[in-house]
Structure formats: structure tokens, C-alpha cells
Subunit: 266 residues, 2 copies
């Protein structure tokens, strides 16, 4: 999916919500567990319920890999079920030496046909650039994450910059960095100012609004650009809004609530 | 596998060789391609040929994921085929927020039963500690890698330390860090001195000897500790030593050559 299509979808739906499919077999409502593929059945119901209120789905690969090869089948089926007008994210945090990153790019952009994948920047240039070689595909690079461990390195200084700022600057100089987006944790709304100075144009994938304490109003105020430039992710607060037979209906209500708040800002 | 078992295997075989299974379907000898699972057939032959000369196998997940769910089946079969006395490494470079890292640990230590997994440290403490909670399982944290991109961040200063030194120090303070090993690229033998000052006891997984320019003699001189403390990986130089029907025989010769050199130092 290209940038114009994503922006158009956002403007049309008046939403920049991304729904995170962190589907844990241990949290799926009991009535689905006797199906052939409970994880897929759950995701299918969530997608049906939320697709009018979100512009992206983020598939967290860990939750599928926990079920082994069977989990990868559930992931493939889930990806295929997502309507083609909705942006797809493999939340996989991959990154390795060049020839291995080429293989990961093949895995997620060719064998599977995700629009994007999240990437861990530690190993530098040759671990990231292979993902930028695909037209209309996106590498979403970790910059500042919303977890406690972000203090260990990301928020430490490297020269004049915090490491997360260094990652933004360095990545922006890579070949085809127009195909980059960045992960920016929403618990630090004031840091969006620093971030938008370095990457005014790029899309930012923002976890941590709601459950992890970030405020949508702050993120919009400091993070939005003329093309919106934001995808706000919510996972557990939507998909586990209820653990009963009404889980899809409750997920729909949660997604709609977030989209309604987003519409105010568009 | 616990530390004593690994050390005992090394002393018995007089080898600290790890064979990397970066099995690319596009590089497999033609005569295997009509088998039901060519990747597994190739790995099976490589394992049969090299198992007397190595103490570890490193499965590079990217190469299996490139074949989708089918690739995960090949990975599961390959892992099961490795003799139980040999240490197994999921070279997966995983790492995410705590609850997701718990899922990756479940995927690789429970659903699959790898002895260890490589980890990307960028997201800090809660992304790494879940892997250290398993008795006799190992989290192999990236410190200094052997690729060009290691210059972007790893070899830059964070305060008084290079980032890779900071990672060694910080990881060593995590809960259950006795279950840590570290990836250290062998193209920088002089840096082993710095590294061994910080982590004298931990095992180091060393890629980059041979093809990428590192010298085994240097690695041994500066990196070995009283428990050996080294696993030296070779992937392509062994598994692609020949692209013909004699590939397994040639792989055996290459593995034996490396083990013979290692025996001198033991």
C-alpha cells in the first residue's frame, strides 16, 4: 500500500486507529476453543467487528509463533482475511545481518504479503535497508518504545542525542528511507516535539495510548502532521474488551469509541 | 542443556564449533528438490555429516520463515533431528515488550524446545528477562556484531562505554543473568580484551571466523576462559562447501578441518 492510499483511507474513515491482534490462545473465549483454528476464528470475528473503525491491523508474530507451525497457518489465514484497503503490519521486531534481513523481507513481503514490518535497529544499516527496497512496502523502525526497558538504552545519551534520536537521524539517511515509519511510545507526549523536529514527514506507529497511560489529545497535538502521519495502536483494550460470547460486539464498541475521538481531530 | 553438559561435550569432542543452518531453498543441490521437504532433507544430511565435529547447531529462523508455515514445519523437524547431546540455538534475534517476550520464550523454549535463542537488546530489561526465567535455557544477547552496520550504534560511545559494552554491563545486572550468553563478532579480536573484562565467565557465540575475516587463533587467545567459554559459528563455509551431490561429504571435511584446528587449543 502506498502513502496516498493510506492517507485516503484515514480521511475517508476519519480514523487513524490500528487494531493489534495479540491473540493469546489462553485468552480466547471458551466457546471458540472447539473450532479447528480458534485463533483464526477469533481474529476473523474481531476483524469483521472493527474493520469500519480502523485503518490498520497489527499482527504480533510472537503470539502466533507460540503455537508453532500451526500458529503460522493461523497468521497466514488472518492476513488473507484482512480487507485489501486496510494497512497490514507484521509486528515482528526483526533485524539481522544483510543476507538474513533479505530473507526476513522475503518472508514478510513476498511469502506473506504484509504491507509493513516492525524492525529492531541495533545492528544498523545493512540490517534495515533490505526492507526499504520494496516499492509500497514499509519498514517500521523502533525508535522510542513505551516499555520500562526503554530507559536502559533508548533514553540514554549517545553524543548530543538520545539513542532514539540517533536512530531517527541515522535511519533517515539510509537508502530509500522514504519507506520508513517509526515506532514512538505515546507515554512520552512531550518527546513528540523532539521527534517531529527530526522526522516531520514520516508516519509514526504509536502504541501505549490508553492502557499504558498516553493521552490521545497530546499525541495529536504534538505528533500529527499535515498528512496526519499517525497510526495509533490499541491491542488488548479492544480485543479483550470482553472474554465472553459478546467479545466481538464489545471490541466493536471500543474501536468505535476510539475512532469517534479521532474524528474530532480530523 | 546446562553449562556443565555443554562444557563436557566440548572437552569430549575437542571442538567448540557451531554449525549454522542458514538453509536457503535456492541454494539446495538440485537432486534434493523433488523431495517432499527439501530443506529438511538437506539439514538431515548436514547434521549426519557434521555431528561428530560440532557441539552446537544454530538454526537461522529467517531462512525457514521465508518458506512460510511450511518453513516452520521444516524447522521443527530439523530441531527434532538434532541429537540431544548437541546444543541448539534459535538464531531469531527476538525481543519485545515484556508480555510479548514471554510469548517468544514460550514459542522457542516450550512449543519448540531450543536450548537457546539470540536476542536483540534495544528495548532493554523487560524485553530480555523473560528468556532468563527458564532453567537450563539460554538467552544469547547481541553485543558486538560482525556486520558493517555495527558501526552505526554498537561501536558508538554511550557515556564512557561503547554501546556494546553498555549492553554487556546492563544485561549482567538483569535477574538470572547467569542464563545469558553474548554474540561477539570475531572480526575484532582486539576487542575481546575489553569484552572479557566485563564478562569473564559467560559463553560467547562468535560468528565471522573465516569468511568474514576473523582469525581463530586471535579469538582463542583473547576470548577463551577456563571453561572454554566460546562457541564459534560457521554457516555458509560448511553447508555450501559444495553445491553438488557431494555437499554433505564436503561439509564434513570443512567441519572436521575447523574442529581439528580447535583441538590444538584444547
Amino acid at each position: 500500500m502506498n502513502r496516498e492510499q493510506l492517507i485516503s483511507e484515514i480521511r475517508q474513515k476519519k480514523s487513524f486507529l490500528c487494531v493489534g491482534l495479540d491473540t493469546d490462545i489462553k485468552k480466547i473465549p471458551a466457546h471458540l476453543l472447539d473450532r479447528e483454528d480458534p485463533v483464526f476464528e477469533f481474529n476473523k470475528a474481531i476483524i469483521d467487528a472493527t474493520k469500519d473503525y480502523c485503518v490498520a491491523y497489527k499482527i504480533n508474530t510472537a503470539f502466533f509463533e507460540a503455537n508453532g507451525a500451526k500458529g503460522w497457518v493461523s497468521m497466514e489465514k488472518t492476513l488473507q482475511y484482512i480487507p485489501k484497503n486496510i494497512f497490514t503490519i507484521a509486528d515482528a521486531k526483526r533485524g539481522d545481518i544483510g543476507n538474513t534481513s533479505h530473507m526476513y523481507a522475503r518472508a514478510f513481503f513476498e511469502t506473506l504479503s504484509f504491507d509493513s514490518i516492525t524492525l529492531a535497529p541495533y545492528m544498523g544499516k545493512d540490517s534495515i535497508e533490505p526492507f526499504f527496497q520494496y516499492r509500497d512496502k514499509w519498514g517500521i523502525v523502533l525508535a522510542l518504545t513505551s516499555n520500562e526497558g526503554s530507559k536502559d538504552y533508548e533514553q540514554e545519551k549517545m553524543g548530543e542525542d538520545f539513542l532514539y534520536e540517533r536512530v531517527l537521524k541515522t535511519t533517515s539517511a539510509f537508502t530509500n528511507s522514504g519507506n520508513a515509519m517509526f515506532v514512538v511510545g505515546a507515554t512520552k507526549a512531550e518527546e513528540f516535539l523532539r521527534i517531529r523536529k527530526i522526522v516531520p514527514d514520516h508516519f509514526l506507529l504509536v502504541p501505549g495510548v490508553g492502557a499504558q497511560g498516553g493521552s490521545l489529545a497530546d499525541v495529536v497535538k504534538y505528533g500529527m502532521n499535515p498528512d496526519i502521519g499517525l497510526l495509533i495502536n490499541a491491542s488488548r483494550s479492544i480485543i479483550y474488551a470482553s472474554s465472553n460470547t459478546d467479545f466481538a460486539e464489545k471490541a466493536k464498541e471500543e474501536a468505535k469509541k476510539m475512532a469517534d475521538e479521532m474524528a474530532i481531530y480530523l
